[in-house]
């Protein structure tokens, strides 16, 4: 019964190509990641060679066009979900977040950037030679994206950037930052996306220590008079906001899938524990309240998974709407919060001691519920779109 089993084999959305990809990624994870993940969690970042190896194994390039070194032929977004789930097997959310940061940093360039920019940036990123991150959030606020304060002022053929970004995933190791800056009037209509070379003079970064996602390096970044060539503008000047919002939709679907996957890992560990741990003369599963707990966890995982898969299907067939991604993300993070809590409860004191996956996953609940659009903001966004006719 233990979860993290072959649930996909019983789903209408997954075929043999998804299974083959799952097996390939699972092998990569067990060979290249599982033996080292505890050390990387302690060290606070992933080694650069891992990106190179993941590129060679076809992981970094999945979904991106062949002309930039990716693999898109035959790709559908369920392959993307499979990748997310298999990377979750080690129960360390920072792994997917940091190894796949290009999943949020690169799409705006491919969607809006000039051909020259795409050719300059995408191939080395997909080959694992360069790391690209996404910089939206600022110390002054992350939810209110339209009010961001970092400025980029035109000076000849360059922009001069001043300000800073906060909580940036892979920010310590990033070679490039896809960065939201203010180039025009206050509000959403004055925002542009600019690719910043992180080795430029005037860029300063500070490592942030965290509750979870520990193998992912997170940075506070400061810009003082950073000179960026205007050719690094991604899309039209003052037209960046739409690109940011569109990017969020796929990030939210991916995060929701991640929540299902981590919940399954926690569930599996709790179920295994409940079968082998004895109290009062019988295994924990022999106690009705524990069985009910486990079934209640499974119920929430399966319901959320069904919605994740439906949303993925809707994207594949062009029937998606943004409000669903926002609500789905909330569904998924609340589910993860509930499942992580109950899994820890089943493990008892052992869940509080470093070494179990449940202990780690429990610490990663908050970053999911806050990052990439916090629960309050998500529900308000959905509410406005669905019920008040506003955007």
């Amino acid at each position: 019964m233990t979860a993290f089993d072959d649930w996909r084999a019983r789903s209408p959305y997954y075929d043999e190509t998804h299974e083959a990809l799952a097996q390939s990624v699972r092998r990569f994870v067990s060979r290249e990641i599982a033996p080292h993940i505890d050390r990387w969690e302690a060290e606070g970042e992933l080694p650069l060679e891992l990106h190179k190896k993941a590129a060679e194994a076809g992981i970094l390039g999945l979904r991106y066009p062949e002309q930039y070194g990716g693999h898109s032929e035959g790709f559908d977004n369920f392959h993307g979900l499979v990748l997310t789930e298999e990377l979750a097997a080690v129960g360390a959310g920072g792994l997917g977040a940091s190894l796949m940061t290009h999943g949020i940093g690169l799409p705006p360039i491919l969607a809006l950037g000039s051909e020259e920019l795409k050719e300059r940036v995408a191939p080395p990123v997909l080959a694992g030679d360069k790391i690209i991150a996404l910089g939206i959030t600022e110390a002054g606020g992350g939810s209110d994206v339209a009010n961001l304060k970092t400025t980029a002022v035109k000076d000849g053929d360059d922009y001069i950037v001043n300000g800073g970004k906060m909580f940036i995933t892979s920010g310590m190791r990033a070679d490039w930052l896809t960065c939201a800056v203010r180039t025009g009037e206050p509000g959403a209509a004055g925002i542009s996306l600019l690719l910043i070379d992180m080795s430029s003079p005037g860029v300063e970064r500070t490592r942030l220590d965290k509750m979870g996602w520990r193998c992912s390096d997170t940075a506070a970044i400061h810009f003082s008079d950073v000179r960026v060539p205007a050719s690094n503008l991604i899309g039209p000047e003052n037209g960046g906001f739409i690109g940011i919002m569109r990017n969020f939709n796929s990030e939210r679907l991916g995060m929701a899938m991640g929540c299902c996957a981590y919940a399954r890992v926690a569930m599996a560990e709790a179920a295994k524990w409940a079968q082998s741990r004895e109290t009062f003369g019988r295994p924990l599963v022999g106690h009705q309240s524990i069985r009910i707990k486990l079934a209640d966890m499974e119920r929430q995982i399966e319901a959320t998974q069904a919605w994740v898969d439906l949303c993925a299907w809707q994207v594949k067939h062009g029937k998606d709407r943004p409000a669903d991604f926002a609500m789905l993300k909330v569904q998924a993070t609340r589910m993860l919060e509930a499942v992580a809590r109950e899994a820890a409860q089943v493990l008892g004191g052992a869940s509080y001691i470093t070494g179990s996956k449940v202990e780690r996953i429990y610490r990663e609940v908050r970053v999911n519920a806050i990052g990439g659009g916090s629960e309050e903001i998500m529900l308000d966004l959905a509410g406005r779109q669905l019920f008040s006719g506003k955007r």
């Binding site: 019983r10 043999e16 990809l21 097996q23 390939s24 699972r26 060979r31 076809g58 035959g74």
Partner: protein, 249 residues
């Protein structure tokens, strides 16, 4: 030269096996399955021989349920050219397997058959050896290096106490050990290409092989729980304890 590579669908090596409540075997319902790791090494070795220009065609074969098609698709995605599924829901023992592979070898006339030294489910370590006996071909088991030179293959074997290199006349049987190579990962484009590669479905009867079991499984049970270790203070204490349990005199 053609290479025949048998591949088996087994319980994924990341999954902890659970014994069925009635003690008749390991519970495989709703559990992740994948290709036997030793067979992946066999597929990889065959592909490398093809890349070196030694082999011209790689035929993957699996004996098992319809789902074993997935395992064959993985072999095709890694680089095998075509596949044969010998479909049966029975548990097939090494001797019957070897007979099926013998019949396929007769029909396909490969220069090499590369098998895993064992499958991680039954850990039998018999099929390659039995196939060599049935075909009368030379065998190099537990290979950590394989080099084809003209009409011979030299196989470096991992044996107790070190390495042994044997030179075999082709056609020959090779079984793989863990250190032979690191298998490649099947990428999405190759997974998609594998969909259009030929896969024939046969039955054991097509090869005139009776798969009825010769061995009766009496009981399958969980290994005994290991009791906790004892800490020793120093070497003298260790020696004393070993003497006490009769391991050291």
């Amino acid at each position: 030269m053609k290479i025949l590579v048998p591949v088996k669908r087994v319980l994924d090596y990341n999954v902890k096996p659970r014994v069925k409540a009635d003690g008749t075997g390991v519970d495989l319902a709703n559990v992740k399955m994948s290709m036997n790791p030793f067979d992946e090494i066999g597929v990889e070795e065959a592909i490398r021989l093809k890349e070196k220009g030694v082999a011209t065609e790689i035929v993957a074969v699996s004996v098992g349920p319809a789902k074993a098609q997935e395992t064959l698709r993985t072999a095709l995605a890694m680089g095998a050219d075509r596949a044969i599924l010998v479909q049966t829901d029975d548990e097939v023992e090494p001797l019957a397997l070897a007979k099926i592979f013998k019949a396929i070898a007769d029909a396909e006339a490969p220069g090499l058959v590369i098998l895993g030294k064992q499958a991680i489910d039954g850990d039998n370590n018999q099929t390659g050896q039995m196939l060599a006996a049935l075909t009368g071909w030379a065998q190099g088991t537990f290979a950590s290096a394989v080099n084809v030179e003209g009409d011979h293959v030299s196989v470096t074997r991992e044996v107790d106490g070190g390495l042994e290199t044997v030179k075999l006349k082709l056609p020959a049987i090779v079984t793989t050990d863990l250190r032979l190579n690191e298998p490649r990962y099947a990428s999405l484009p190759n997974i998609m290409k594998a969909k259009s590669k030929p896969l024939d479905t046969k039955t054991p009867a097509d090869y005139g092989v009776d798969t009825a079991p010769r061995v009766k499984t009496v009981k399958v049970s969980e290994p005994p729980v290991r009791s906790a270790g004892v800490k020793v203070a120093d070497v003298d204490d260790l020696v004393a304890k070993l003497k006490a349990i009769g391991v050291h005199s």
